[in-house]
Symmetry: C2
Subunit: 342 residues, 2 copies
């Protein structure tokens, strides 16, 4: 009998008077096992309370059954929803998820890719914030990888995002449909050089031009960083400097919340005087006052596409990077309602 704490395969085998491999076959539901043998082994398993040791199994198979999800911060309404969706999607496919926070720091993002210790996970889903496409290709070691978001998308790596240009276009179109003529963009974040901002601005401008509206660069409001405080300060300053506008497309829901606060502080009504659309459709948007309309990426779809693509890679697919667009919609709420109720 085994002296340690755990019951091993060999303990079960001896107890049932069979070989280890037969027990293993029963555990794995291997088809060529006679019913009576299966029953005998099953009984031994239950009597001894045997639980397979995953670590040992992994050492032999070389698979961990785990994937990593690396995101800037868990404690962010968008990312926590993505994390939720990825965990659910992975679980449905028999995988477990380790969540890694990069804090949006380049160094930590690289650490995720470099994979200091091998064999922790079979693959990685990664939403970068700082690291460039080039750095990713240089550092990536052959561990299956799927990228999320707009920050980096090297041609060689699988990647998923929503069509930001189109989403921005649709949003601005919605504002125009409400009769708005001077629509601002909050905001162009200084540290976000190559990412979402450019695409969203492109869609923003395209919609304006398509409607024959003048796109005034003063209406593109610069924000120092990603905090709501910075957005509120930037917008307040613009208002106080005399900027006039009747609609705002916000870079994310936190900025939308900041915009609501800034407008309220200046006695400007929403949506009467200014209509607002946020981005990400997080819980925040539903709970503000007034509730905020928001671009709604299909987070479940993103997660499922990501996990599926990752599994294909883990199963040996090695084609060039696939770049997919996930669906999105526009969640309509009070801050930029439909025309009928406006």
């Amino acid at each position: 009998m085994n002296t340690g704490k755990g019951v091993r395969l060999i303990d079960v085998a001896r107890h049932a008077g069979v070989s280890m491999k037969t027990v293993s076959n029963v555990v794995h539901n291997y088809q060529h096992v006679t019913p009576q043998m299966r029953e005998r082994v099953q009984e031994a398993i239950e009597q001894l309370g045997y639980k397979p040791n995953l670590t040992a199994r992994r050492l032999v198979t070389g698979k961990t059954g785990m994937i990593a999800l690396a995101i800037p911060e868990i404690n962010h309404p968008y990312f926590s929803t993505i994390a939720d969706a990825v965990v659910v999607a992975a679980e449905a496919r028999g995988l477990r998820v380790i969540i890694e926070q990069t804090d949006g720091k380049a160094e930590r993002e690289l650490a995720v890719l470099r994979d200091r210790e091998a064999g922790l996970v079979d693959g990685v889903i990664f939403q970068p914030a700082k690291v460039s496409s080039l750095e990713i290709t240089e550092v990536q070691q052959g561990t299956p990888l799927v990228l999320l978001g707009e920050a980096a998308m090297p041609l060689s790596v699988d990647h998923i995002m929503i069509d930001n240009v189109e989403a921005a276009r649709v949003s601005v179109e919605h504002l125009i449909g409400l009769g708005r003529k001077r629509i601002a963009f909050l905001g162009a974040v200084v540290e976000d050089k190559a990412g979402a901002t450019v695409r969203r601005l492109a869609g923003y401008q395209a919609a304006l031009e398509a409607a024959g509206l003048f796109s005034d660069s003063d209406l593109v409001i610069q924000v120092q960083d990603f905090t709501p405080g910075a957005a509120m300060a930037a917008l307040s300053q613009a208002i106080e400097a005399g900027l006039k506008f009747d609609g705002i497309l916000c870079r994310d829901d936190r900025f939308a919340v900041a915009a609501l606060q800034a407008l309220r502080a200046h006695g400007i009504t929403v949506p009467e005087e200014v209509a607002i659309i946020g981005w990400d459709n997080t819980e925040l948007a539903a709970y503000t006052n007034p509730a905020a309309s928001s671009v709604a990426p299909d987070k479940t779809a993103i997660a499922e596409m990501a996990v599926d693509m990752l599994i294909e890679r883990m199963n040996g697919f090695s084609g060039v990077g696939r770049h997919r667009l996930a669906p999105f919609s526009l969640a309509i709420r009070e801050s930029a309602p439909t025309l009928s109720s406006s």
Copy 2:
């Protein structure tokens, strides 16, 4: 040379012309290695790009270096903050975290407890919602476990929460200090039988009685479930039934948001006519309009206490369950400001 993909310890050993154990010693910074030997091995490690295989290491040591955090849902502002804090605390102590969502289902909660035997993680931090103290003791088999929250706290298991009675008392005291006389509690959730509600109600009542106020059971508002919608419906119904009150202590921030919406829908001003205090001090509370005061559990402290207690258990401590109270404060915002600004 190794035919497979990974460079192994033995490959490094041969390359450097030393034994495997010496390489292992260098990797582990074992002190009794001569500097020149260390350098020689280090060079081989770098030349070959060796990464230790965690799975193999685990099989030998029996430690995984990972802990599980089991919570009802990641995508909830309170739990995502806790998750954040636990990940940070664990990482600072050299541990990685697997996050498991139980969806608040008893079945999944039990699965979490049973699962540990499989050697996936070295310990579990678990915030139960449904499972009883008895069930936990029955299923738990000596694997390190630390419980969070108010739902279950078997004597035999380590446990952390804030002093709910005291927190409720302080909150109601604050409302009384603002001159409020009829203070409601939103809400007593039907399915939460033995948990937080009882404690918070006790503190609520204690504060009322200490101030010589009548505690009217009509002011304890029943809510069907934990969704904001249910809370909003319950409060709206109470208002329409003619219930009068000038302050509300809410069970959590989502309820506080719901209360704000219900009051607004009925044209009742906050904080002038009704002052509101939420619970958990999540991001939501800061972003509502008006911003909501909220009971603020010290989430960092909770996470650090939990990880530290778990590590002690993992290191062999086997005393009786320790029950600790984590600090909390009252985050004051517009919905129930300080007297001077009210």
